[in-house]
Symmetry: C2
Subunit: 274 residues, 2 copies
């Protein structure tokens, strides 16, 4: 089957259009070529996008699919009236039913702040990213009281990408601490963590998978050996049980899935504390 070209057109970054479109396309087992078209925020730019889409149709002989999150009515109309691709107009599909439901007219224009960096939620997110970076891998025990969650686990169990994703996507302040052989010998958590036990969440991983990941970084090392990975994982899980720490196995999970699970835990805990 020929590859189908899919365009993601947006007046913003096109990240939403691409994320959603990709999820829908995963329902169809066909090969696709994806083209992102961000910042299409004027009728003139829309016309250039249309020309590109129509030229692709001409060249490939198959109608391209066009996912649009265009909001501005004037810009969107350029696509509606001129685009020869199959238009998947994501906004219009839901805007009209929502107008009826909410009893409010949609803005019909990009509802973006003129300066996003002045937005409090955005500011908090950047703060959270900086916090998580400064508190990666046990780098700093300062300000742990500001952390929303503290991840612990053996080296390469997924703490760092999860921490960063949590702050980037959800604006959560995350510290992470490796559990290392010294901790296992002492059979105690790093002492900096003891006052913050309630905030700790554990990540674990199957020793076989851990050995593979470590082998990529340090081939043929003691660190990566299966025997060592088995020992570390078993000790880490014993430690988490000892301290009654909730934990999750990351073995087959994506960063997004791990982060979502951690977030559910944090929210549930906060509700209990309220």
């Amino acid at each position: 089957m020929n590859e189908r070209t899919v365009f993601f057109v947006s007046d913003g970054t096109a990240i939403t259009a691409e994320t959603f479109g990709t999820a829908i396309l995963a329902q169809f087992q066909i090969p696709v070529r994806q083209v992102r078209m961000p910042f299409v925020d004027s009728p003139a730019k829309a016309m250039r996008a249309v020309e590109k889409i129509n030229a692709t149709y001409q060249k490939e002989g198959v109608r391209p699919v066009v996912f649009s999150t265009l909001v501005d009515v004037d810009v969107l109309n350029v696509l509606r009236n001129n685009c020869e691709g199959k238009l998947m107009d994501m906004f219009s599909a839901f805007v009209q039913p929502l107008e009826t439901e909410l009893g409010v007219k949609a803005l019909g224009r990009v509802g973006r702040f003129p300066d996003i960096t002045r937005n409090q939620a955005y500011h908090d997110r950047i703060d959270a990213i900086n916090f998580s970076l400064a508190h990666d891998d046990g780098q700093s025990a300062r300000n742990l009281e500001s952390a929303d969650v503290i991840l612990v686990g053996v080296s390469r169990s997924g703490k760092t990408p999860t921490s960063i994703y949590l702050s980037m996507q959800f604006g959560i302040k995350v510290a992470n601490y490796p559990l290392i052989p010294e901790d296992f010998e002492r059979r105690r958590l790093p002492s900096a963590l003891l006052p913050h036990r309630k905030k700790i969440f554990g990540l674990t991983i199957a020793p076989e998978r851990l050995a593979e990941i470590r082998e990529e970084r340090r081939p043929n090392s003691q660190y990566a050996s299966l025997a060592n990975c088995r020992m570390e994982v078993s000790e880490a899980e014993a430690m988490m049980r000892r301290y009654d720490i909730s934990w999750l196995s990351t073995t087959t999970k994506s960063i997004e899935e791990i982060a979502t699970t951690v977030l559910q835990h944090v929210r549930r805990r906060n509700r209990h504390h309220d």
Copy 2:
């Protein structure tokens, strides 16, 4: 006006449902309370979600809005048949038209890999995140030949969050280097970068904004003073002009917007080199 409760229901992380739903809701200037319901992947879990939604309706007296990215038909039908909220069924809205257009039936079930971590694109993304973290803030000049892009700019111009976002979202390997007073005195880029000039992209920022950001970190410092920020930005921009480096002002832009612009630049450059 009363707050309207909005649910995001998904068999996965609900991140797509939330991102898209939030973008749509930004079109309506009404106060909303958002509730994410991830991992609703069985009819039994769907029934529990429905109970929660219907109870909210009872309690608040206003019909909740429910954005769903449920894919599995059996799970989705539980919502269709029992949910008293206003259902925004994102998948169905586009699946049927796409079936017609593509001449292929949709899977009708979650098209997820049983083990996402075995997926090559996922693996590359994790590699990119690790690369970007190891090459943050000029930490390492090793393997710069593997970088897809090298960001330069004065301290606090947005290099670190942009680098991480680019690798996290787009799987791009990013190194970033601060431009510092020593570089300005020598009127030369850090020497580690010279062999990789073609890969460099610059970030700049209005001195007034930079002074604000630095002031939050180091109040009343020479580093944060407007005079110093003006000097550094002016020197950095002169440096970029001298080396014919493309650049972007981050002053009023979100990480997503900066990253999307950098990515467009990288793709355009790669096309020219092909």
